[in-house]
């Protein structure tokens, strides 16, 4: 079973040199800590920044410089600021190569639910609906099951949707999966996790072809 850090680490292996990447709040943010050696990626923050740097050193926080999670951050040499319309413009235009975000539920046809639990608090979708509707290449980072132990990989989402037919790949604490026309194709198992356990915890159609390798880091 992967820790949140390991989920981020596995996703980071999918980064390619020159990628522009948008990382959502939560586990996705951690991906920035595991960018492979020799790979240069530029992080986009949808509030209006390209080239997001690390958190500031204590005492050097700048209230005018935050990311989409409202965290204080820094810039790097070559960073650019822009307004939110241009920011979502470049997202809609498909200029962002990879989008990593969290989810409450994902369905076997690539639908995602992440912004609302009816009857409980509605926090709002923020930029998630724009991101999932526009990105060509979306990886969802999440736990395989919710706190009650119920699968988050479903035949059909039960919560209000954020977007339809958009998720391409999923990395959970148990597995790396790809969505194809038939369902969740199991690409890799987390170290020490069996195919049976993944099958057990996947409510949607799980596609297993041949030997499923264990992830390596």
């Amino acid at each position: 079973m992967l820790s949140k850090e390991q989920i981020a680490q596995r996703i980071a292996k999918e980064l390619k040199d020159g990628y522009y990447v948008n990382l959502g709040i939560g586990i996705p943010t951690l991906v920035a800590n595991y960018i492979p050696e020799g790979i240069n990626v530029t992080l986009q923050s949808e509030n209006g920044l390209l080239g997001m740097g690390p958190f500031p050193i204590a005492g050097e926080e700048d209230a005018d410089l935050i990311n989409a999670g409202k965290q204080t951050i820094t810039t790097l040499a070559g960073s650019v600021f822009f307004d939110s319309a241009m920011s979502f413009g470049m997202i809609r235009a498909g200029k962002v190569d990879l989008t990593v975000l969290g989810a409450m539920e994902v369905s076997e046809n690539g639908d995602i639910a992440s912004w609302k639990i009816p009857g409980k608090l509605v926090k709002g979708m923020g930029g998630a609906m724009d991101l999932v509707a526009s990105a060509q290449n979306i990886i969802v980072a999440m736990m395989h099951t919710n706190k009650k132990g119920e699968s988050k990989l479903l035949q059909k989402c039960s919560l209000p949707l954020t977007g339809v037919h958009c998720v391409k790949r999923i990395v959970t604490d148990l597995a790396f999966l790809e969505i194809n026309q038939n369902g969740f194709k199991l690409l890799e198992r987390a170290p020490g996790v069996t195919v049976e356990e993944i099958q057990d915890k996947t409510e949607g159609e799980l596609i297993i072809e041949g030997e499923v390798p264990e992830m390596c880091f």
């Binding site: 050193i57 979708m125 609906m129």
Partner: protein
């Protein structure tokens, strides 16, 4: 034509109950602090606020919520505010949640004289209910209307007497977009300078969009998520 006002209360002299008001900022970053304080002090009632977020309990738009001045909130994310949650669940306040990019682009559309925009954001979700869906090049898009407001209240870093504005870092966010979408746009700036002091190549909002400007005071610039690293 004088656009310069002494302070927020004077610049907001003609604001009325039931006004539709846009407020720039993302989270607490780049919000028009002086204008918000004036709205509280002037005790304007039943306003519709259009803003990406709703502030926190005791700052930003949260100050207006606490005094129950807000009839309706149009935003994309409101997860930082418990009073907001209470008023929403109790039905005291109407809420319209729209995707962040849609919000930004609908403001820009207004400033660019475009009646509608098409965006894929929200297709297939409850955001699409009642809206026109249209397919272009094999992809579905929602038609969303341009937004304007009776008043757009924005915060810039520097501005000149003609209303030209420059924003700082990510405090830019929605400010230049809302500045273009106000029937009356009021800008508060940290530093008000004479025309000619801003480099004409680097002005973000041309003064043609700005009706009133004043130099704000006592900026608190509260940080929502103070995150730091080891040296």
């Amino acid at each position: 034509m004088n656009k310069v006002y002494k302070n927020a209360n004077e610049a907001l002299f003609d604001i009325r109950d039931e006004s539709v008001i846009m407020l720039g900022g993302f989270g607490l970053c780049g919000i028009p602090e002086n204008c918000i304080a004036a709205l509280v002090q002037l005790n304007v009632q039943k306003i519709t606020c259009i803003s990406n977020n709703a502030g926190v309990d005791d700052f930003g738009i949260g100050l207006l919520l606490k005094k129950k001045q807000v009839k309706k909130m149009i935003a994309s994310y409101v997860g930082e505010n418990a009073e907001f949650e209470r008023q929403l669940l109790s039905g005291e306040m109407e809420v319209d949640l729209i995707p962040q990019g849609t919000l930004a682009t609908r403001c820009m559309a207004s400033g660019y004289g475009m009646p509608v925009i098409y965006t894929p954001a929200g297709v297939g979700t409850e955001v699409a209910e009642g809206k026109e869906v249209r397919n272009f090049n094999g992809k579905d898009y929602l038609m969303e209307y341009a937004f304007n407001a009776d008043f757009a209240l924005v915060k810039a870093w520097k501005g000149d007497h003609l209303g030209n504005l420059i924003y700082k870092e990510t405090a830019r966010n929605f400010n230049p977009l809302m500045a273009m979408a106000g029937k009356i746009t009021i800008a508060e700036v940290e530093e008000l300078v004479q025309p000619g002091e801003l480099n004409p190549d680097y002005i973000h909002t041309p003064g043609i969009y700005v009706h009133r400007i004043f130099q704000g005071t006592n900026y608190e610039k509260r940080i929502e998520q103070r995150t730091v690293r080891e040296k």
